[in-house]
Amino acid sequence: MAQALVRLRRVSRFYGERAVLKNIDLELAPAQVTLVVGPNGAGKSTLLRLVAGLLPPSEGEVETELPPGGIGYLGHKTLIYPKLTARANLAFWQSMFGQPRDDAAVTAVLSRVGLAGFADEEAGVFSRGMSQRLSLARVFLTAPRLLLLDEPASGLDPASAVWLRREIRAVADAGASVAWVSHNIAADLAACDRVVRLDGHRVAYDGPAAGFDAAALAGEGVC
């Protein structure tokens, strides 16, 4: 296994007295898609925020090999500015990531996500699927080595969800690590290398996607 990009060592997270995660050990390696599954309240989103460094652990350590700016995030919220055009949104994130203003790169990434014809329209008028495509364009533009996805396909139509799955796989094949929270396990499993299942605030399963029995979870309301 390649050198892990992020390591969680006996990490616990509490909100007040309530434990959300307990004694989590986890490593995320490059060129790998890790599907994170579990029932509502299992701590999946909290796990992503701990990995991203957006939340400090209550106990344990989060170690990372990544430089600042090495983590990308795509979730329920799109992280875009509705009153800016698609192009202006991407130009802003270019500046924030220390990249020179490059209109050609912006145009190219908008074409990749199928928004080239909407580059100069305000992002606020986009449908949910288009907004998620723009958000993915932001991720492509900043080329993170670790991509965290928190149910990115929620609200997408089936065709957009298939497209998103293909793009996520392409990101990992290009060398990035992807940690992907999903409830649509049956559909998403094929695009993943590994599954981490959270239950009872702990890791209940951590192994290859090929050996994961998604059907058994259906009765638990996980998928």
């Binding site: 991203a52 957006l54 939340l55 979730g75 500015y81 994130w93 500046s95 924030m96």
Partner: protein
Amino acid sequence: MLKAALAIARKDLSLALSGAQGLVQTVLLGLLLIFIMSLSREPGELSPPLAAAAVFWLATAFGQVLVFNFLYGLEEAEGARLGLLLSPAPAQAVWLGKALSGWVLLFCCQMVFAPAAVAFLGQTVAGSPLTGLAVVAAVDWGLCALGSLLGALSVGKSSRESLLTVILFPLLVPALLAGIRLLETVISGRGLEAVGAWTGTVVAFDAVFTAAALVLFPFLYTGEE
């Protein structure tokens, strides 16, 4: 850090000025305040310069709360705060960017408040307008340094918005008092050397809260909801 801060300020100003979002409310509130205060004097009576300066800075202080709630609200609509925190730019770049855009927006509002205060409160400005602008800009920087620092408290939950006002106003008192004294001096045409101690207060306020913000901001602006 400076490039990222300028990118944030540019983006905020573009959003604020394109649809006059955030500015209209601020300007209207300030004008309303100045107008109401003007009703307290008899027709034809002139307000003392000290009172006029106090009304001007009061309008500015209320406007500042709206400006920074607006500026930090921009990052909450679609969760852009997470993107800012995950970017390689230090968190202080967000503080500086917001302080700079707030500084410009507040100054724009004051360019409406000033003639309104002169007209409604019956003032004759005897001093140099340039000195007045310098005084306003210097006091504004302290207000914006503090406003941008504490504006970070208002993010996440709507219940936190009131925190900004509760904590901000007591801390603003030294800058507001100095601003009132210095502006009164400009209106009445006396030299600023007569109020040297208040000039020192403004400089110290600006320096202390700029330094405090650079140290404290990363602890206030986090990924926690």
